[in-house]
């Protein structure tokens, strides 16, 4: 594969380099086979599948509510979004309406998870680009969010909090106060991050005009999320499709102009600020009421009723041993995760186990744009684009 390129009258050969799957900079186990001519990338082929867990196949063997912990572990940084995509799809299959309080609680946790995902992204990407201290600052905030998750759900990650019909438990006393402190504090933190990186010369020269792909090409490739918004397309599923209580929230969608690494960074930082606003509005507008639907065919009855009501006992027994049955049908439900459009396809065949669960994962589809971003640039720019692309290999490989 030798090519003669007349640069200063020298002939250069093309060298194939294997990067990964274990490499300090790849975000997870991504393997790249790169054809390099000197330092310039000529061709790129991602090889994935190193963390393929067969989650979709495992889901076919479990009853509908037991699938929820499996499905959360796909994209392991934005776990609430997978739960929402799956629970929303099953609720549409079954025709179940969730109460208002559950919608608001779900939105609070989803937006907190979005901030968490962007913080992890910012910390690790800045680490790749050399701004090592960002990791510590971002993870300081991330620990505060995880404290909030732990207070409400008992677990830091993979909380199994959303159930078909609502959320599994109401928020405890003291949660609102702690959440309010966090929400008041977060905008100043984002300003601190901006003060560190926005005008930093090294960061600017590493991200400005790096990895530009045109808007039309991104749409052809099926890319959604902050990557598409940074290229100038104001497409966000929260505003396009009305799901949960987003129509009642007042928030803006940050949109970039050029679509290079710097725009992607700015878009995600602005999204963090917008998410904080959404959480604040949801907290203030949180209605009273039940936190889960009360259709006993699909939702576990509260434990306090079990000793006194025979019916509740029977429902509980049936739901725990066999699970609920769903009429045959199929549904595709998509939400806006921090990386783009996360869609869940559930096929029901009348039994108590789903016949097919498929996730349209945003990182999997966004990875197709990586080749366009890096070809013709330097290797170091390829690493910077990979950081700005924000792939999470758990979602890519499922």
């Amino acid at each position: 594969m030798a090519e003669k390129v007349l640069v200063d009258d020298r002939a250069t050969e093309v060298m194939t380099v294997n990067i990964g799957p274990h490499h300090p900079a790849t975000h997870g186990v991504l393997r790249l086979i790169v054809d390099l001519e000197g330092e310039v990338v000529r061709d790129l082929k991602p090889v994935i599948g190193y963390v393929h867990t067969g989650i979709e196949k495992s889901c076919e063997d479990k009853s509908y509510w037991k699938v929820i912990p499996f499905v959360e572990r796909m994209d392991y940084v934005s776990y609430f979004f997978q739960m929402e995509a799956y629970c929303g799809a099953v609720e549409r299959l079954v025709g179940l309406e969730i109460p208002e309080r559950a919608k608001y609680l779900r939105v609070i946790f989803l937006e907190l998870n979005r901030i968490h995902s962007h913080l992890v992204w910012l910390g690790t990407t800045a680490l790749d680009l050399g701004a090592i201290s960002m990791l510590w600052y971002c993870f300081r905030e991330r620990d505060k969010i995880l404290d909030l998750f732990e207070m409400a759900t008992g677990q830091r990650m993979h909380t199994r909090y959303f159930q078909v019909g609502g959320v599994i438990e109401d928020i405890p006393i003291g949660f609102e106060k702690k959440l309010r402190e966090f929400v008041d504090d977060m905008p100043t933190r984002v300003e601190q991050y901006q003060a560190l990186l926005d005008r930093n010369e090294i960061f600017l020269s590493r991200t400005k005009d790096v990895g530009i792909v045109s808007r039309e090409r991104l749409l052809e490739l099926g890319v959604t999320g902050p990557l598409l918004r940074a290229a100038g397309e104001p497409w966000d599923l929260r505003k396009a499709f009305d799901y949960l209580c987003y129509p009642e929230m007042d928030f803006k969608i940050p949109v970039g102009t050029v679509g290079d690494g710097y725009d992607r960074y700015r878009v995600r930082l602005a999204e963090m600020v917008e998410s904080t606003r959404i959480v604040k509005q949801a907290l203030e507008g949180l209605p009273e009421g039940p936190h889960i639907a009360d259709d006993r065919k699909y939702v576990l009855p509260p434990r306090s009723e079990l000793p006194t009501s025979m019916e509740s006992l029977i429902h509980h027994f049936k739901l725990v041993t066999e699970g609920f049955r769903v009429e045959p049908g199929e549904v595709y439900y998509a939400i806006e995760s921090p990386r783009g459009e996360l869609g869940c396809f559930v096929l029901a065949d009348g039994s108590s186990k789903p016949s097919r669960v498929h996730f349209r994962d945003p990182s999997f589809v966004n990875l197709q744009a990586f080749k366009d971003m890096s070809i013709g640039g330097y290797v170091a720019d390829m690493i910077a684009s990979l950081g700005m692309l924000d792939p999470i290999l758990g979602g890519v490989d499922r």
Binding site: I48, G49, H52, G54, E56, K57, S58, E60, D61, R92, L93, G95, L219, E220, L221, G222, V223, W235, A240, F241, G329, E330, V331, Y332, A334, E341, G343, F345, L347, S355, R356, H358, R360, F364, V365, L367, Q368, D397, R398
Partner: protein, 173 residues
């Protein structure tokens, strides 16, 4: 979403140019679907993308479902999205029974129409063994290259190991 009458209109218009393409329509739980003949799926997708007034230019997802024991067994689902009117429509291509044990079901690849399908068709091949004719690189994507079998098919066993207790600890194979 185009509602049920709208769906019938779409079917009528497609039938004018490509007779016999749409086998049936379904409107289930608020989601419209067109069930098409797999040989003409490219014509239907192209019409939905290009016809003035339709404009389903975004392929959200391409995935396969196995309807065993119903025949035809595989269905390739194309989830299309019209971003201007914010509407979704689903196109299902049902792949017929496989003649002979080794033959893999085939369908035309839509990578020319929708480049986003590249990885997703490879994933469908990897898990179900459906070959997409005209795909630039029809190889396995998520499983090791030398893996034998199509895991996501309904008759493929789930695998794994049974949990060891004292009563069965001595008879692990």
């Amino acid at each position: 979403m185009p509602d049920a009458p709208g769906l019938e209109l779409i079917r009528g218009e497609i039938e004018q140019d490509n007779p016999g393409a749409v086998r049936e329509t379904s409107f289930d739980r608020g989601q419209p679907a067109l069930i098409v003949d797999p040989e003409q799926v490219l014509a239907v997708l192209g019409w939905l993308r290009d016809a003035p007034g339709q404009g389903y230019t975004f392929l959200s997802s391409l995935h396969v479902a196995d309807y065993l024991p119903a025949e035809p067994r595989f269905a390739v689902h194309y989830e299309l999205l019209n971003r201007n009117r914010v509407e979704r429509i689903r196109v299902k291509a049902m792949l017929g029974p496989i003649a002979g044990d080794d033959a893999l079901p085939e369908i035309d690849s839509c990578v020319e129409l929708f480049p986003t399908a590249e990885f997703q068709e490879r994933e469908a091949y990897d898990f179900f063994g459906i070959v997409f004719r005209g795909h630039p690189d029809m190889t396995r994507i998520l499983l090791p290259d030398d893996y034998v079998g199509w895991p996501q098919r309904r008759d493929f066993p789930i695998g794994g190991e049974p949990v060891l207790f004292t009563y069965n600890e001595n008879d692990r194979g």
